[in-house]
Symmetry: C2
């Protein structure tokens, strides 16, 4: 029956089957007004023929894809397991779904950022990005994004927006670091270890700066030592902390992330160092993990899901209005006290 070479049903297949023109079918599909009698026949034909609109053709014609992309630079192949990222992407995806937009996703190791297919081809109306690596590399990548000439939201960086097409959304990691710092003050610690991954990440830098800004101003002085673990993996962090503890026990271990905080807790346990009695431990960017440990982990809560929604919303407004209403947005974070810093 179908004499077309294409295997897929098209508008004109439906039009022929329903005895109307393609425009009538198109109008039905897009919810425009069509006489009820025609509409019914078209809908019947659509169902019978299993018609689905070809978005490539629609996008080509309308020059809007109703789709956004997100590119995530991460050294871990399983880039979505990071709880911040999984929440951010969930929020973005759900927001976009709610307005009938699609989300394209791609993870990429930082060294190969600029080769990501999602950036080299034009398939999405706008892009989101999360960078990592040394600050100069991140700056290059931002420049690469700027040159795309497409609306972009960049997460978690403190760069100034370099173009009207680039907006930045971050949580207040510096402020979060200060909250941890103030907690350290309250506990009258003297020697603090800031435990971070080797790989640079803007948020980690900000957290460290926030903590140090408080500790530097403290009287009596608080000495902050930064210890880098080879990676964020449990094994690397665990062994790094064990090695450090074997040479002396500080008053506090401030971990750059919750998963590192957990590994630190476990390392303390293995060395017989009691938390919070002998030293206190904190995490960062907490979601549920804090409550799984014993003792439970004091951390700073992130609004990641909401940040994802917001990014989608800002990009939609940018596409509609031709400009971003704001190009720098910072979300507040909150301190979440638990047993690893002792009962207040």
């Amino acid at each position: 029956m179908a004499s077309r070479k294409s295997l897929r049903t098209t508008l004109s297949d439906v039009a022929r089957a329903a005895g109307v023109s393609v425009m009538t079918v198109s109008n039905v599909v897009r919810g425009k007004f069509v006489l009820p009698q025609n509409k019914a026949r078209v809908e019947e034909a659509i169902t019978r023929l299993n018609y689905r609109p070809n978005l490539s053709a629609r996008s080509l014609r309308t020059s809007e894809a109703r789709s956004m992309g997100i590119v995530i630079a991460d050294s871990d192949p399983a880039f979505l397991i990071d709880p911040f990222i999984s929440r951010l992407v969930s929020g973005l995806s759900n927001y976009l779904s709610s307005i009938d937009y699609t989300l394209d996703i791609q993870g990429v190791v930082p060294e190969r950022f600029a080769t990501a297919g999602i950036l080299r081809k034009d398939r999405n109306d706008a892009l989101c990005a999360i960078l990592c690596g040394p600050v100069e590399l991140r700056r290059q990548h931002l420049e690469f994004l700027r040159k795309l000439g497409q609306p972009v939201v960049l997460f978690q960086e403190v760069f100034k927006s370099p173009s009207p097409d680039v907006a930045l959304i971050r949580q207040d990691d510096f402020g979060g670091g200060k909250l941890i710092g103030q907690l350290l003050l309250k506990h009258k610690v003297r020697r603090v270890v800031f435990l971070r991954p080797m790989l640079d990440w803007s948020a980690v830098e900000q957290r460290e700066k926030g903590i140090r800004s408080i500790c530097a101003a403290a009287l009596p002085g608080i000495k902050v030592t930064t210890i880098p673990a080879a990676s964020e993996s449990f094994e690397d962090v665990y062994s790094t902390v064990q090695k450090f503890l074997s040479r002396g026990v500080p008053d506090a271990i401030v971990a750059a992330t919750d998963s590192m905080g957990v590994a630190a807790l476990k390392a303390c346990e293995s060395m017989g160092v009691e938390v919070p009695k002998r030293l206190i431990v904190t995490g960062f960017n907490g979601f549920d993990l804090w409550r799984y440990t014993r003792p439970t982990l004091t951390t700073v809560m992130s609004p990641a899901y909401e940040m994802g929604r917001r990014a989608g919303n800002m990009l939609i407004q940018r596409l509609r209005d031709g400009r971003f209403a704001q190009r720098n947005v910072a979300f507040p974070v909150t301190l979440s006290l638990a047993d690893s810093t002792g009962r207040h």
Copy 2:
């Protein structure tokens, strides 16, 4: 200079700038052989004009999108935080990226599955899906997927493939349940609680069947009681277990997932019920969580990341060869012993 109304650079913009035909530019872009002198001029123009190929136009012409979609039915809006799903999607995404394919992602509550935009429009060459909800609903959704007339990989279901276009990939949850069951035998338990979420999920059903198959055959008999928590959330599971324990302590709590296992551990802790001394606890579908708790959690390890890669690979082969080589694939799982079931 650019007299076109479209804002984006096109092939013919580049062709004009380089003084060649569009076909030459197209050939350069696609890596076909072009005389070095022309190639150089074209590449210069591409860089200068910031040209990126329009994938909608390419897809329309070639009728291949080089893109796949995944739709995830989940009652939790943050559908990506589930560690199984985040690994599965990471594996799929990375595999697709490596062959220059894109991944579209959409989460949807099970009641609205068939309304998901990713299913109602034709943008991807193939689809992956994860279902949840009562088995009849899942069967309907599978039928919906079958009718799309597109290659589909469905995860974690034990349905028979209903069409040459549908392949099923799952882990051996029944076998995993048997591993847990055998462990229970070894510990000579008599009263077992299977702790599961209210929401149906194929994998949970299989796990329960596997456990019960072993327990039913045991001598002396092992009594298995199923306790549903309102949801998988920490609070719901925690309070469900507390309530249950207040009426008596079984010999084992077998949780349907690791996060439920952790909540059970914490509920035991809160009630002063020692694990593994007084009762043993197990999780399921473990990744890193098991090592965060005290005691660490015995669980069954899932090959989720590898399953995602495999799905991508099977779909690519299906697109290339016109048929699936296999339509039912089961990945083995492994038991991971830890402190919550005591030292052997």
